[in-house]
């Protein structure tokens, strides 16, 4: 079971790293310049896209993920959970209505004989929160 180290972990030279640094610095200039333009609702999206381009360069080259599929799966898996966390939270924020009288539904009777509009215990018809009888 002796596989040679150099094959498992290919070495990237300083030239590549210098080019990546150059690209990162150029993208930093672009993101600062882009902040002076008004893309309306897309301002944050543009900023995050440029940041993600920079982040991908760092992860792929500096963190060697392009030669490291196994750890790339771990990392991207983590990012996936972060994306679920963020996107589902934003669904909630984006679809909330302020509580106004016009948004309220008319009180409903849960079943014949139940009090109007209040939560009830379906088994007894008593208001919720009362001790069961």
């Amino acid at each position: 079971m002796s596989h040679v180290n150099e094959h498992a972990h290919p070495i990237t030279g300083p030239k590549t790293y210098a080019l990546v640094l150059l690209a990162l610095l150029i993208l930093t200039v672009i993101t600062v310049q882009a902040s002076y333009f008004d893309f309306g609702a897309w301002n944050t999206v543009v900023a995050l896209l440029i940041a993600s381009a920079k982040g991908s360069l760092v992860a792929l080259y500096f963190m060697h993920l392009r030669h490291d599929k196994f750890n790339a799966v771990i990392f991207v898996g983590g990012l996936l959970f972060l994306a679920i966390f963020l996107i589902w939270t934003l669904f909630d924020i984006a679809t909330r209505q302020p509580v106004l009288p016009s948004n309220l539904k008319a009180p409903v009777q849960e079943f014949p004989g139940a009090p109007l509009g209040g939560p009830v215990r379906p088994s007894t018809g008593q208001p919720r929160g009362m001790p069961a009888q």
Partner: protein, 224 residues
């Protein structure tokens, strides 16, 4: 992290470097195990900061005027300067990994020291930014005492600003401790192409700190 340093004699008969711990079959297995451990830790870090990013997203979505008004108190130039400093430090860090991979001891120490220098510059700039905000009363939550605001609710932005950049700053400080430890070990001649996993995984941690700043910079300094 393989912090144990067994004596050279104990393992000499295996014909391995003294840094191969006895529960690993070979150096490459030890290296891969250390890396997987570090990546798992980095995922927990992403989720730790992720909670703050989501909180920021919620408050920014609900109070956009307050956030835009508050971010004008930040200095874009200093933020951009710190971004460049951190990117350069990531570059010197990855070069120190390269120097270790190719057994260049002097270059390894040089690049590690340059990384430490950049981290120091970052913290000094952060210190000046923070002290300016303390002076102006631009503080989180109930400590906010800045006078003459036209847009209410700016304290919320500074709650996120100090929590997120503060947590990031703590990570930079811990990274500096780790890099100083690497310098110490590199001077003792511990690292070579045979054994450099501490340099590699500290590098991974350092790049993640850089990566988080890459997102913090536009969200804090450049919103509009």
């Amino acid at each position: 992290m393989s912090t144990a340093m067994p004596s050279a004699h104990a393992h000499a008969e295996h014909g391995h470097t003294p840094f191969l711990q006895h529960h690993f079959r070979e150096m490459s297995q030890q290296f891969d195990a250390a890396k997987i451990g570090m990546w798992l830790f980095l995922v927990t870090e992403v989720l730790l900061f992720g909670g703050l990013f989501v909180g920021y997203g919620i408050m920014h979505a609900r109070h956009p005027e307050a956030f835009v008004a508050a971010h004008h108190h930040l200095d874009k130039t200093l933020g951009a300067l710190n971004t460049v400093v951190l990117l350069v430090s990531s570059f010197t860090m990855v070069l120190s990994v390269w120097a270790a991979q190719t057994s260049r001891k002097k270059l390894l120490i040089l690049f590690l020291l340059l990384t430490l220098l950049c981290a120091g510059i970052f913290m000094v700039v952060k210190y000046f930014e923070y002290s300016h905000k303390f002076h102006e009363g631009l503080l989180p939550g109930k400590y906010y005492s800045h006078k003459g605001d036209t847009v209410p609710g700016q304290f919320m932005f500074f709650s996120f600003y100090f929590m997120m950049t503060g947590l990031h700053g703590i990570h930079v400080l811990l990274g500096m401790v780790a890099i100083a430890w690497l310098v110490f070990r590199a001077m003792k001649g511990h690292f070579s192409s045979e054994y450099y996993s501490p340099v590699e995984i500290t590098g991974l941690y350092w790049h993640l700190v850089d990566l988080i700043w890459i997102y913090l910079f536009p969200l804090m300094y450049l919103i509009s």
